[in-house]
């Protein structure tokens, strides 16, 4: 169970205050809310990439004590970012990007996300957003994460690529029992994809 309890987090000032959220293994939780409501901030905290001002994160009953490099449990959580073009090192080929977490399953993962061998040799600027997001999904699944956080991963994609990626995630979820936190503005997508949807309210004007 991935749990955020009483999370208050932000950058200079808090963006989210006292927010709690739980994702059970095998469950897909949708997270919706207007721009600036702190969806991505909450996602970053739960992905152990951003230290909250207050609150705790628990993974399968284990309280997280460090964030970013200090988080021993970070490989249990896979992350898919909103903009695939910014989330792959521009110098890497797709093959290198997928292999980065240290797995030797590049071929298997590429097949899973339907990337051909020709595409694996290309660099990010030589492929489409959809193809790049497929590579990012393969990279996120490389370490068989217990939880997968998808931070508006479909924003840059067309309907068919969105459907394909969601299909891959669902198949992985069925196979591994992983929990998924799906963040999106697309309420139709969340209605179809998520088992339940949590809505963050707009931030109060300062």
């Amino acid at each position: 169970m991935l749990t955020g309890l009483g999370i208050t987090a932000g950058y200079q000032a808090p963006v989210i205050t006292d927010v709690s959220l739980t994702v059970h293994p095998g469950q897909t939780v949708g997270l919706a809310g207007p721009s600036g409501s702190g969806k991505s901030t909450l996602a970053r905290v739960l992905a152990l990439l951003h230290k909250p001002f207050a609150g705790t994160v628990e993974i399968d009953g284990e309280t997280v004590t460090g964030f970013r490099f200090r988080a021993a449990q970070r490989t249990r959580i896979g992350v898919l970012f909103q903009q695939p073009r910014l989330s792959v090192d521009p110098r890497f080929t797709l093959r290198q990007a997928i292999a980065e977490p240290g797995g030797d399953r590049v071929g298997e993962l590429a097949d899973l996300v339907m990337l051909t061998d020709d595409l694996l040799g290309r660099r990010p600027h030589e492929v489409s957003d959809g193809q790049l997001q497929r590579a990012c999904l393969a990279r996120a699944l490389a370490l068989n994460p217990r939880y997968l956080i998808c931070d508006e991963m479909t924003t840059m994609l067309d309907a068919s690529t969105t459907a394909a990626l969601v299909g891959v995630i669902r198949a992985y979820q069925r196979e591994s029992g992983a929990g998924v936190l799906a963040i999106s503005h697309d309420t139709t997508l969340l209605t179809r994809w998520a088992d339940e949807t949590v809505r963050l309210s707009a931030p109060l004007p300062r």
Binding site: T75, R139, A142, L143
Partner: protein, 294 residues
């Protein structure tokens, strides 16, 4: 109904798209110039009878001729031969000092930028403190401590010029470390060292390369300044700095060739180094690398 005829507008020279110039145009001249320079500075000193310090007052201040292609200086020394020896010294000073300062600056900047926090603040205040002292003054102190010599000049220049590289690398690393691909690497279990060596350093390499290239002529100029103050190489030793400095006096009596030859050599060599590093920089840029077809 009026006739509508479409006529393409003539393309002016300004709007016409010109095909991109092949990088070979930069690579070939640069490689040839540096190849010739390297060959000359390595081969000529092997001939013992060619002494660049040989004084012959009978042929002093002679303009370029077939006997002395670049003329002679006020002591009758052959300017071409002195240029060859001077390039050897000046390129050693320029390249070695530039490389040392780039390595030191990159190390400090990368550590400050990637670790951040108090470590970054303290390190950058140290950099500010050193930068607040005029670097020529600091260089003079270092050479005075080490005693004037070629290695003292190199150490002095390197120790006073790593600050620029440190600042460039730090600011690039600070910008890069907030990018999602760094977050993705961390989420994938990469350690701080792995992030630094796999992502941060390779992505700042083009900027470091540019700073190093610009540093080469600056280091040569610095060697000139130290030599002028009597803290660099001894006056009889040929270096580009010493030669240009000596030639200033001869300009007043019409001896233009004494400063022209070393000055031109310095400019041409610097342009060649710059051209070569530009090609290398393009090769390091993944987007440009795809466009390059050679």
């Amino acid at each position: 109904m009026a006739d509508l005829t479409w006529r393409s507008a003539p393309r002016s020279r300004l709007t016409a798209a010109s095909p991109p110039r092949s990088p070979k145009w930069r690579l070939l001249p640069s490689a040839i110039v540096l190849g010739v320079v390297a060959l000359v500075v390595l081969v000529v000193p092997l001939f013992a009878e060619l002494n660049e310090q040989y004084v012959d007052l009978a042929i002093a201040n002679q303009p370029p001729s077939t006997a002395h292609l670049f003329g002679t200086d006020e002591l009758g020394r052959d300017v071409l031969l002195r240029c060859v020896y001077a390039l050897r010294v000046s390129l050693t000073v320029g390249v070695v000092a530039a490389v040392i300062s780039a390595v030191a600056g990159t190390a400090v900047g990368a550590l400050a930028g990637s670790i951040g926090g108090w470590f970054d603040r303290i390190l950058m205040r140290v950099v500010d403190a050193i930068a607040s002292v005029p670097h020529l003054l600091l260089g003079i102190v270092i050479v005075a401590i080490l005693r004037p010599s070629l290695s003292a000049v190199i150490i002095s220049i390197a120790l006073t010029h790593w600050l620029t590289a440190a600042r460039i690398v730090r600011s690039e690393v600070l910008s890069l470390r907030t990018r999602p691909f760094i977050d993705a690497a961390i989420a994938g279990g990469a350690s701080r060292t792995q992030v630094l060596t796999r992502h941060l350093l390779p992505n700042v390499a083009p900027q470091v390369l540019l700073a190093t290239t610009l540093m080469v002529p600056h280091a040569v100029w610095h060697e000139t300044a130290l030599s002028f103050l009597g803290l660099g190489l001894p006056p009889h030793a040929a270096s580009i700095g010493n030669m240009i400095n000596d030639a200033q006096r001869s300009l007043l009596i019409g001896g233009w060739w004494m400063s022209l030859a070393p000055g031109l050599l310095l400019i041409i060599t610097t342009l060649a180094v710059s051209g070569l590093s530009g090609v290398w920089r393009d090769r390091l840029n993944p987007k440009r690398r795809t466009e390059l077809t050679w």
